[in-house]
Symmetry: none
DNA sequence: GATGAATGAGTGTTCATTCAT
DNA sequence: GATGAATGAACACTCATTCAT
């Protein structure tokens, strides 16, 4: 996770937080353990972050932002809707493989959070689904995509992509496998899985 | 939630647990509040359940089992793969609308749980994805479905269905809307969203 | 401190709180020590009191109330202003000898408390000074007291009484000594200490 | 607060300490805030003072000493006991109006401090009461004062004076009011408030 | 001398769990 | 079986103090 080196301790804490929150979940992660993992004292965490909650939110937000920037950059390169969908899916898989399982929870999950977290995370989902919806609508206007309910499809696609990074399977896919999976998956969405009548 | 009436208090506690866990999440839910909601004393919870953790797991497991029985019954009624997929999706939406947002978390989520929970919940996902995979393979054998990677598709479908029950949108869909959405969604999967070439 | 026996533990905690707060002051007193002194678990303190602050305030308030009731009862018995002033002074000395040094701080001090405490304690002083002021004014009307600034005198008298219970001197006065001191002191106030011109 | 200018930072810190301790009390005052108020870094406080506790004690002691010097100078000017008592009272009111509410606590209070502070502050009280006692005894010898218990009266007077600076009333008295109050108050003590028989 | 980033000992408070009634 | 008063382990967070610069 590229970060400025202005605050090396802050970065250590965020990396450690990502790791520990990922492993333990928010409530089971202990500040002391995060501090230890970061190689700093407990008090130092509070020099850089107001609270455990704020630390968590910042990790999520910054992580997501980084992720989104990557994905959006990739999307812009692609001209066709198919290419864009593939880019989204590929980035998702690659980046989330890095963050797993925490990032996936940030990406896909909201329900186990307490109310204050939900608001924060819900916005993230909605933003992503919006981006997807727009891509679809662009595709519709460009005659690449049928005249479908773009928002409904965006959700189906977004959910499906999220499930690919299912933490159940702790295997890391090889790049060529990812390429292969993504191509197949996008084609399922575009061309359907029903036997042509 | 039809349950045996052998232990009315046990049932109250489970209903209350479902409600409170749903609203607050596991860690923010308090045994005292669950007991109060159930109209029993705090100690009574421990007459029927060993621990908060066990209560949670049992609620999830029994809830999921009930859910699965319903879905499987519905699936059996359907002859075509399309009908089966629609049945799965419809049941998901209906039942999850009832459980939201907790049930969704139980259905879709794993990452914020501590390790012991993960094992429990991971099995649930895998079981559902297995059922889906079998339906797809059956469809492939019956020439209803193209010769695709059934497991990959099962995940995409399962994830997409889960996202429909996104707690972001706290609206309750009307039955006819559900019917409409499900039909569209399944058709997207079956026939694709790409403009026919 | 006579208390109802409805909540023996609550009473133990209050007694222990009085003792420990007295010895250590508010900030240096530890809830754990109070609990230990009371012979209960730390959590039990929180069964009966919302917080350390609330425990403190209740101890002060209830202590003062008890004290005031005693004093007021004694005052009513006396017919002359001299008798009333003596009663006030005597009660002060006797009761505060019991509470020392904490009670004195509650009686006389306000300044070292944080703002929330001040409001609470300031009212106590003002109430007592008011009572004194009224006694003086009654005395003026009854021609027992010169036509003086009653409120100014009330403060001087109240402050002087408080200083008699100076915690510096940890000696306990004997009842006959108290009687003697009080008589002298009140006479100083009534007849002055200046050599009669 | 005239101080040597050898250590301007030391003086800033002491002034800031007086202000912050006054407003917040010892335990609620933060070294960081004192440093900020003094316009120096947190570490600088520790260049000049060993600890928060020592800073406090020095502020109190030096403040009191300054105060006492002022009062004693004033007392020496006065020839009569009445004049001396008035001088004490006037100085008290004037100076304490400046320091309030902290100074009053230093002057009058001891009980909320932890044991180490008490010893320090108790000496201050005793010193002042001693000075007062001597003035009274001088007055007795000079036939200005009746043959009373000088130490008892000193306490009553000292306590009464302290109560005039009651922080309850955050009003600042005008010089002419102070003069007026002091004259009245001392006369109450000298000539008594009882209606002449 | 001056600083403030780093620290960790210390504490109020919570809440799952127990057990006497 | 049912209860809820009692408990104490556990943890987020504070802040006086240190020390490398």
């Amino acid at each position: 996770m590229s970060r400025t080196n202005n605050h090396p301790k802050r970065d250590s804490i965020m990396d450690a937080g990502l790791k520990i929150f990922s492993e333990k979940g928010f409530h089971m992660a202990k500040i002391e353990e995060i501090a230890h993992e970061a190689g700093v004292g407990k008090g130092t965490v509070y020099e850089y972050f107001e609270s455990k909650e704020q630390l968590f939110k910042i990790i999520v937000t910054e992580g997501i932002d980084e992720f989104n920037v990557k994905v959006d950059k990739q999307i812009k390169k692609e001209k066709t809707t198919r290419g864009k969908l593939m880019a989204i899916m590929k980035q998702n898989i690659q980046v989330l493989q890095h963050f797993r399982p925490f990032a996936r929870s940030a990406m896909m999950d909201v329900t186990l959070f307490d109310v204050p977290f939900r608001t924060c995370l819900m916005k993230i989902h909605q933003k992503r689904i919006c981006v997807l919806t727009e891509i679809i609508e662009e595709g519709i206007r460009g005659k690449e995509i049928k005249n479908i309910n773009s928002s409904l499809f965006a959700k189906l696609f977004y959910g499906g992509v999220g499930m690919l990074n299912n933490p159940h399977e702790e295997i890391n896919l090889q790049p060529e496998e990812i390429e292969n999976i993504v191509e197949k998956a996008v084609d399922y969405y575009l061309y359907g899985v029903g036997a042509s009548k």
